[in-house]
């Protein structure tokens, strides 16, 4: 579609910002989920409040994600068809890293759909799917770091590190309280978290923070060296 470049810049800004906000909200939803399942409450923060907040923050995250996906599709600078949002690795723009976003998005859709239809699928089926939340978060983070054009900015790195620390804390709390029942699962959770963090630390320097990243991550050649008019000189 032929839209003025200014509008196209708006989509590009929207997709990046809603992506960052979605990451924050997903982090908050995960942390609240752990607080919920651990049954922490005070008289001022009763159980039903933590639970509703968890559900509502998750829905808000979904709302931001929908805008994030739609604006990425509508942005004419990169040609990302709608299908790339749910089918991973078939696109032309940084297919692997974008694909991770599709995978994470699919998982979130499954989690939220099953949660809204809980009474019809039964508790055990609902809970099994809900475990996907622990997988969708790191995948979403990798998507953001791999695809995002703001990765080299301090503000985004700070947000990412903050969210990562929050999730690590939440996973530790979940895995260590009631330790060591289900030793294997809890051990695997801790091991997975440690391995993921280590990977991030080692990878970031040679990956998204390196100068060649846009080309190596699969940005289409015709877009390399071009920037959005409004973002000239900033992103790379």
């Amino acid at each position: 579609m032929s839209l003025p470049l200014a509008t196209s810049n708006a989509y590009w800004y929207l997709t990046r910002s809603t992506g960052a906000v979605a990451l924050l909200l997903l982090t908050l939803a995960l942390v609240l989920g752990v607080v919920d399942v651990q049954r922490w409450s005070t008289p001022r923060w009763p159980r039903f409040l933590v639970d509703s907040l968890h559900r509502n923050v998750a829905l808000l995250a979904l709302a931001f994600l929908l805008v994030h996906v739609l604006t990425a599709v509508l942005d004419s600078f990169t040609s990302i068809p709608l299908i790339d949002a749910v089918v991973p690795f078939v696109g032309s723009y940084r297919p692997f890293w974008l694909g991770l976003g599709a995978i994470s998005f699919d998982m979130i859709l499954a989690v939220i759909a099953t949660s809204l239809l809980r009474q019809h699928i039964g508790f055990n089926a609902w809970r099994a799917i809900h475990w996907l939340t622990y997988a969708c978060w790191p995948i979403a983070l990798l998507h953001g770091l791999g695809t995002g054009s703001d990765v080299k900015f301090t503000w985004l790195l700070a947000i990412s590190v903050l969210c990562l620390l929050a999730v690590i804390a939440a996973v530790l709390a979940r895995a260590l309280i009631g330790w060591p029942s289900n030793l294997r699962v809890r051990g695997a959770a801790l091991g997975g978290t440690g391995a993921f963090t280590l990977f991030l630390v080692l990878w970031m320097g040679q990956g998204p923070l390196s100068s060649e990243w846009a080309r190596r991550s699969g940005t289409p050649v015709k877009l390399l060296g071009h920037t959005h008019a409004a973002a000239a000189g900033k992103a790379r």
């Binding site: 039903f48 009474q119 508790f123």
Partner: protein, 75 residues
Amino acid sequence: MSSHVRVNPIACEAHGMCAELLPERITLDEWGYPVIDDTPLHGSQVAHAIRAARACPTFALLVERERAKSGSGRR
């Protein structure tokens, strides 16, 4: 037609949200499990009861119409 609350004690895992949301009919015992007063619900209490039933993480709380033998659970 009157409604009352009922708990499925097998599904119940003592999360306690029901007692927070419907204190008029539900209190918690010393182990955190709900003690149900099955007096019929009046007016606006029904909406609160339904909200409490929806809040229960394990669907243990039921809002039932009358006290039919073969039971018609409504969540």
